[in-house]
Amino acid sequence: MSKVSFSVNGEVRDLELDTRTTLLDALREHLHLTGTKKGCDHGQCGACTVIVDGRRINACLSLAVMHEGDAITTVEGLGSPENLHPMQAAFIKHDGFQCGYCTPGQICSSVAVLEEIKAGIPSHVTADLTAASQVTPEEIRERMSGNICRCGAYSNILDAITEVAERQA
């Protein structure tokens, strides 16, 4: 057992955990923040995507005790049913989900992807590494490809992200 303290959605949480506990299970099983999903527990699906200190990670691939002092944002921290984040609203409008199980991960990823592009972080499909990154369908598809949606909502998710990006621009 080991103590760890980090903030989740702006709230400081002190936990005493089995050191084998993943960040994902700390969120889901200990803090009962079940918005973050477990699809594979092996870093293969993206359902567990959360934002840690501004960067998206697979929470299943990270032990909770590694996050001392970190600021973690989960889907619950982006918005609530009464007060949706623009990305959540866009997913609803464009029907960017079906079963909803990949959805929190897709939404956390999309929010972080737009930030990554803004910060000029290149991707595999960025042609010119010296120019500013663009929000193109190709860039979004590439950057979102770690988030599997077996329901196949990809085409709608792209529409949702594009709409949010255009509004931010």
Binding site: D18, R20, T21, D25, R28, E29, L33, T34, G35, T36, K37, K38, G39, C40, D41, H42, Q44, C45, A47, T74, V75, E76, L78, G79, S80, P81, L84, Q88, F91, I92, K93, D95, F97, Q98, C99, G100, Y101, C102, T103, P104, I107, P137, I140, R141, E142, M144, S145, G146, N147, I148, C149, R150, C151, G152, A153, Y154, S155, N156, I157, L158
Partner: protein, 730 residues
């Protein structure tokens, strides 16, 4: 309510709420992480223990010993359940293999134990300490090798006219064999359950498409009276047929909970799922088509071989060939071999999905032989009656319209009919198409309605929403029928204490479950009218009011302080016998194949669907694009790789079993024909969730052929199967 004559005008025809592209009513919960799935019932279950399932490490044979000592002594362990201490167990009606194996092992990764501990980490750790000794037995694992041992199956066998004679005499002939691989549902939410015993009663929160089947099978497995078992499944993270049945997560949670005397939660570990649960079985399909020079089919035969465990069933890959095209001389036959692989069973559009993957390549090959346009070849062979029984018409069949409209919208006239001739830079480009066909099944379905003193309506039915949009279309149905805004309707689903619905399967869910709600609404309308002393036949329900002649009242007044509760079921007569009910569509695809590396990319996709009334164009469209995405997977990447010596699927996780990701999927277009089918149900709707998958794989295969000139008949169409045959890249 009995539905035995075609529907006439009814309140659904107003289409004020039904038929509108309304956002999902559960969308806010799902996008904010507030929708509780099976493993997440923290409000309902306090302090659960964790179960970790151990799967058999052999495909067939016997467990000779299990050493549990180290595991029992490991920290936090509460119980270990194996076949030896589980007590007598039955087997569910829908299960082929037992859900707890031992000492006999029926397939690889069959559950043989569950370790229950205080925490997930402890349960996982203790599970690694269990030592199992096996005496493996030989088994049959390879369909091609077992092909000659396969037995004919009566189901789907048909013979009309003289196929052999007509085929031999046909001017143009095709005789080709196609294969489709084993595939996995790979839904994003693993099979998961929490079980809690309350005395001799068992409550299980689970992730399941068919509540009533699975409650019955859980009771049967545990040898309990069915009324002692309650299943609750409010949100389901995808199923695609993989959650039609009771699976080992629910049984292991129940047994673990009984042993540990605590609620127990179990999620199947992802690497266990593909061998532990069901899969779509591989097929070998032989298709023969004989046609006259004008393209008219005179002879058509489709035979398919598949395998399953003893007592299992075939993949019904020939079904669509009985009905899709005309032709006086016909033959279909299924053959089933015994294979000792994990259990084969339904995956999205069972039968038609793999069947059309083969048939629609064959049609493309035939069109090429005839020198005909593939769209035109299909149009020439349309039939408006069941070719096996010409007295039996289709209730509706707009296949030709789908084909024509699709060709026009897609720009099919831009396709070069000569394959391997279109080049854009490094890319060889091509277009392909296929017909889509899936039967429309109707299932009886019941619902309970409560009208309360505020004039609000609550619907309860054990129907499930697996991403299909059931919550939303059921709310739309009740709102339309009762004349209230949709936000005055509450929908409660997925609980075996609610009336038994059609459930989610075989693309029957939307039409059948809303038809059940329709029946209950008709009963509620009568109850309201009766209470107000109105004549129910001329009562009008609109804007929260009931009016009859110059009299009127609000629904709240009609309900009174006690409210009104009704329940009804919609049952079907013989309309589906008298009419062939099917759904139709056409898929068009453009691909680009890298001339040097062979990499194939899907550039554009279009589906045109004729599927009766579309209850919600937004959610229905999502069903279709999702199915098209799965079709891309089937065409280009999905294959459970089989170890033929040891009898298991090797790539049993989401890294090894590839499914489409964002980068694989282009923009997708969907067009629904304006249709309403009064033969189908009072909703005049049909299913669409499986239709969208049917034919996609072949359309992509045909596009790759058009781009490269190479014909691949073995799915998935990976580049190793055509790279050495690509046109010379200059």
């Amino acid at each position: 309510m009995k539905f035995d004559t075609p529907a006439t005008t009814n309140p659904i025809d107003r289409m004020k709420v039904v038929g509108q592209p309304i956002d999902r009513i559960d969308g806010r919960l799902k996008t904010t992480g507030q929708a509780p799935y099976a493993y997440e019932q923290n409000d309902a279950v306090r302090d659960p223990a964790y179960g970790y399932v151990i799967g058999a490490a052999i495909a067939k044979g016997r467990i000779t010993g299990m050493d549990l000592r180290a595991a029992r002594a490991a920290p936090g362990v509460l119980a270990i359940v194996t076949a030896e201490n589980a007590g007598p167990l039955g087997k569910g009606d829908m299960n082929t293999a037992r859900l707890l194996g031992g000492p006999e092992v029926d397939h690889y990764h069959q559950a043989i134990a569950v370790v229950v501990a205080e925490t997930f980490e402890q349960a996982r750790d203790a599970a690694q300490r269990v030592r199992v000794d096996y005496a493996p037995a030989g088994g049959a694992f390879d369909l091609a090798a077992a092909r000659d041992t396969a037995k004919e199956v009566d189901q789907s066998a048909s013979s009309v006219g003289d196929f052999e004679g007509a085929f031999a005499a046909a001017a143009v002939q095709l005789d080709a064999t196609y294969t489709t691989p084993d595939q996995s549902h790979a839904m994003m939410e693993p099979h998961a359950s929490i079980a809690a015993w309350q005395g001799d009663r068992l409550v299980v929160w689970t992730s399941n498409q068919m509540i009533n089947w699975s409650a019955g099978d859980l009771a049967k497995t545990l040898k309990l009276p069915k009324e002692k078992v309650r299943l609750i499944s409010p949100f389901i993270g995808g199923g695609f047929g993989g959650k039609l049945f009771l699976r080992s997560d629910a049984v292991m949670a129940a047994l673990g909970s009984r042993a540990a005397k605590r609620p127990v939660k179990v999620a199947l570990q992802r690497p266990l799922m593909m061998n532990n649960t069901t899969h779509r079985p591989a097929t070998i399909q032989r298709i023969r088509i004989g046609a006259a020079p004008d393209g008219r089919i005179g002879a058509i035969a489709h035979e398919s071989w598949s395998g399953d465990l003893p007592g299992g069933g075939p993949e019904t890959a020939v079904d669509q060939t009985r009905l899709l095209y005309a032709g006086a001389n016909r033959l279909t036959q299924l053959r089933l071999a015994v294979l000792d692989l994990p259990e084969g069973n339904a995956m999205r559009a069972p039968g038609e999905a793999p069947g059309l993957m083969a048939l629609e390549i064959a049609m493309d090959e035939m069109a090429e032989k005839l020198g005909m346009d593939p769209v035109q070849f299909r149009i020439v062979n349309d039939t408006q009656v069941d070719p096996n029984d010409p007295d039996r018409p289709f209730s509706q069949r707009q296949l030709v319209k789908c084909l024509q409209l699709g060709a026009e919208r897609f720009g099919w006239d831009q396709r070069n009919p000569r394959p391997g001739q279109s080049r854009q830079g490094r890319w060889l480009t091509g277009m392909g198409m296929a017909s889509a066909f899936r039967n429309n099944l109707v299932m009886k379905s019941a619902a309970r309605l409560r009208l309360d003193s505020r004039g609000e309506v609550t619907v309860e039915t054990d129907m499930t929403d697996i991403g299909t949009g059931s919550y939303t279309i059921i709310a739309q149905t009740a709102a339309e029928m009762m004349g209230v805004p949709i936000d005055k309707v509450t929908v409660r689903l997925g609980d075996s204490s609610f009336p038994v619905s059609a459930g989610s399967g075989g693309q029957w869910g939307a039409n059948s479950s809303t038809a059940g709600v329709y029946a209950a609404c008709m009963k509620l309308r009568e109850a309201v009218a009766r209470k107000l002393g109105f004549n129910s036949a001329d009562a009008v329900f609109a804007e929260g009011q009931v009016r009859s002649g110059n009299r009127g009242a609000t629904l709240a007044e009609a309900a009174g302080p006690d409210g009104i509760v009704v329940e009804d079921i919609l049952e079907y007569g013989d309309l589906s016998k008298r009419f062939q009910q099917s759904t139709f569509g056409a898929h068009f695809v453009e691909v680009a194949v890298d001339a040097a590396t062979g990499e194939a990319r899907v550039r554009r996709m279009l589906a045109v669907c004729a599927a009766g009334r579309i209850l919600n164009p937004k959610t229905a469209r999502s069903q279709v694009i999702g199915a098209m995405t799965m079709g891309v997977g089937a065409a280009l990447m999905e294959e459970l790789a089989l170890d033929k010596r040891r009898g298991f699927f090797v790539n049993h996780d989401l890294a090894g079993y590839e499914v489409p990701v964002h980068a694989d999927i282009p923009h997708q277009e969907v067009i629904f024909l304006d249709e309403a089918d009064p033969i189908s149900s009072p909703m005049k709707a049909k299913g669409v969730g499986e239709l969208g998958l049917c034919g996609v794989g072949a359309a992509i295969a045909n596009a790759i052929h058009n781009a490269t000139g190479v014909r691949v008949r073995d799915y998935p169409i990976t580049l190793d199967k055509y790279l050495d045959r690509l046109p010379e890249a200059v």
